[in-house]
């Protein structure tokens, strides 16, 4: 349990660093670290399949997508970076304060832990749940992936009149 708490603290700090980082690349790296720590937590919660998905897709693929998107945009000049960081600092310095206040408030507020499951899958295997119990959802998932692929094809399509 102590290791879980340690990982949760590190993950929250990584998330905080992600949103407060000056450069977009550093923010992306922070997001990857957050995902990696979440993977360890998921693995410790007896969910190895979800952990593998989280590690390969969220830590790997999404980071690559972000880095490629950032590399296709124009980098800021040194003067612009300094101005943007000052502006960001002005808007984001409230966040640590809000987090500390929320943490203090949550210490006094008791989070109810008694949850009753609406549906019990008991000893079922994850593959059984995915392919038998959630068959209709799988169709939806396939449609979402196709929609995503079509969206990317449309968005990244070069115009004919463009050089």
């Amino acid at each position: 349990m102590n290791l879980n708490i340690f990982l949760l603290v590190i993950m929250t700090l990584a998330a905080l660093w992600t949103v407060m980082a000056r450069s977009l690349l550093k923010a992306t790296m922070g997001l990857a670290i957050t995902s990696a720590i979440l993977t360890i937590l998921i693995f410790r919660m007896a969910s190895p399949l979800a952990a593998v998905f989280e590690l390969s897709v969220c830590t790997g693929l999404i980071t690559v997508v972000f880095v490629s998107t950032i590399s296709m945009t124009k980098p800021l000049t040194h003067k612009e970076i300094i101005e943007a960081s000052k502006d960001r600092l002005k808007r984001f310095w409230y966040l640590p304060v809000i987090m500390i206040l929320a943490a203090i408030g949550l210490c006094f507020l008791k989070i109810p832990g008694d949850i009753k499951p609406a549906l019990s899958t008991g000893t079922m295997d994850v593959r059984n749940v995915l392919w038998n119990l959630r068959q209709l959802d799988m169709f939806g998932q396939v449609i979402i992936i196709i929609a995503g692929a079509l969206g990317v094809a449309i968005l990244f399509k070069e115009r004919k009149d463009e050089p």
Partner: protein
């Protein structure tokens, strides 16, 4: 439900709420499209952790894992589409500022 599991949920719930605060604050305050997507990612991470913890303490690990896999698939599609939109906006405005989206027709 045992006291230990209830305590586990309370501890995880505490940090999940903090993650939600981080994501929501960034989403509200940021002016950069890519940072908004990163904030959305953090919110999705909080949801993923909540699903896994609830599955663990209620004994529905298989259902929680299958739901998390669905969430991850949707997350990837969202990020890729949002990245494409951000690039299109950048080509159009030479900037990723969301305030400049108001200049669009429609």
């Amino acid at each position: 439900m045992s006291l230990n599991l209830m305590q586990t949920f309370s501890i995880f719930g505490f940090f999940i709420i903090l993650l939600f605060i981080v994501g929501t604050y960034c989403l509200v305050v940021t002016r950069n499209i890519l940072r908004a997507v990163i904030a959305l990612e953090i919110l999705i991470k909080a949801v993923t952790l909540l699903l896994i913890v609830v599955g663990y303490i209620t004994g529905n690990v298989a259902l929680a894992q299958s739901l998390v896999i669905t969430v991850i698939v949707i997350e990837v599609v969202i990020v890729v589409i949002a990245g494409g939109i951000a690039l299109s906006v950048f080509r159009h405005n030479d900037d990723l500022d969301v305030r400049r989206l108001q200049n669009l027709k429609g």
